[in-house]
């Protein structure tokens, strides 16, 4: 083996070692971080009712929860229903009108077989479609509660968050992406008033 050949071999060995050690270190650090985060989950802050919560795309202030049999439209449904209604103020902080508030908050822990709530605009007492940016509105979410499940006395709502990415990781397209929940709001559920609703 000539001296030149030995030199080439040594260089290749060094390059191989550097790359190998680097990869091993990156793998170990990422694995350790995952394990650490799983062992120490971030505590979601408790937020009092009525306090505005910044979720990135929306600012929401959840006010009250109540049970009723008449939906916010004011017309009594043909078949009697038990509705759990949550009133909140919502402000769209994004640059365009959106109806993405449908999954902004959820009951925690989730209730089995609970359909998604219907959203009403407090101003019209009618079903809400999208919300325009920079125009806060009072809204009401109404869950049709299954008759077999008792309505909880205290309602825990988990508020989700989203961030804006100018370029996403897949297409490089702008968009809103889900992030970890930012707040837990606990509300006392007001019982149905006098059995007649409001």
């Amino acid at each position: 083996m000539s001296a030149e050949q030995r030199l080439t071999l040594r260089r290749r060995l060094i390059a191989f070692l550097v790359a190998g050690i680097g990869t091993a270190a990156a793998t170990a650090i990422s694995f350790a971080m995952t394990v650490y985060e799983a062992a120490n989950p971030k505590v979601v802050p408790q937020v009092a009712a009525g306090q505005p919560i910044d979720t990135g795309r929306w600012i929401i202030a959840i006010h009250e929860a109540r049970v009723g049999s008449i939906p916010p439209t004011g017309t009594r449904p043909l078949t009697p229903k038990k509705l759990l209604m949550v009133e909140f103020d919502l402000d769209n902080r994004s640059a365009s009108a959106s109806n993405a508030f449908l999954r902004l908050f959820a009951i925690d822990p989730p209730v089995a077989n609970l359909p998604l709530p219907t959203f009403y605009l407090g101003r019209d007492k009618w079903i809400a479609s999208g919300l325009q940016p920079n125009m806060p509105e009072r809204m009401i979410a109404a869950w049709e509660w299954p008759s077999a499940v008792p309505v909880p006395q205290h309602l825990r709502l988990k508020v989700a968050s989203q961030i804006y990415k100018h370029r996403d990781n897949l297409y490089g397209a702008p968009g809103w992406f889900d992030r970890d929940p930012v707040a837990i709001v606990t509300l006392d559920v007001a019982p149905e008033a006098g059995g007649t609703g409001r």
């Binding site: 009108a97 101003r123 479609s129 325009q132 806060p136 509105e137 702008p174």
Partner: protein
């Protein structure tokens, strides 16, 4: 030593070039953004698939709708903008599903669905080639976005590389805001009437 210096310079230079390329590449949203067809308020604007003209922008604090047996007053935390115009398809029947009010801050206000049942509402009008039809659009906008707005009208809001008519709303300002408007059904050629109260 000279070689090492050369290598460092080469690496730094290529890093700078790559950074520049990354920064200046147009984003996916820009590459696939709608193709603008610009026009002015009161003028007929012809895109490839449709023709539209906006005649008048009415601004009001409240709007009352009157239809058979039902009167409803709509309020808003901002102002209502009711836009009257006419549209026609060019080669095939179509509906214009998307209209947005682009405010001067760059914020987009979509058609208000709170008026979706009024006659002549743009997304529910089916446009036929050669048959101009009156169309009505309703927006809910904050008061400071009233002037220097632009109206964006397209077949859909999401299809990439679709043509989009952009109408500059010159001459519309906060002085035109009226306290109340009444929107009623009509039997004439224009299926609605707009009156100031």
């Amino acid at each position: 030593m000279n070689n090492v210096l050369k290598a460092i310079v080469a690496v730094a230079a290529s890093a700078a070039v790559l950074y520049g390329l990354q920064r200046t590449t147009p984003s996916y949203g820009e590459i696939t953004s709608p193709i603008a067809v610009t026009g002015k308020l009161g003028k007929r604007i012809a895109a490839n698939a449709f023709v539209i003209g906006v005649v008048k922008v009415h601004l009001a604090r409240t709007v009352t709708t009157k239809s058979v047996g039902r009167t409803q007053t709509f309020t808003s935390s901002g102002v209502w903008a009711l836009v009257e115009g006419a549209a026609e398809a060019r080669s095939e029947s179509l509906s214009l599903m998307s209209a947005q009010w682009l405010g001067r801050d760059g914020v987009r206000y979509a058609l208000s669905q709170r008026f979706s049942t009024v006659p002549g509402f743009l997304p529910s009008q089916r446009l036929e080639p050669g048959l101009p039809q009156p169309v009505l659009m309703a927006f809910e906008i904050p008061e400071d976005q009233v002037s220097e707005g632009t109206l964006l009208i397209a077949r859909t809001a999401w299809t990439p590389l679709e043509e989009e008519v952009r109408i500059e709303l010159t001459g519309v300002g906060p002085d035109d805001i009226r306290p109340a408007l009444v929107l009623a059904r009509s039997e004439g050629a224009v299926p609605w009437t707009l009156k100031s109260e």
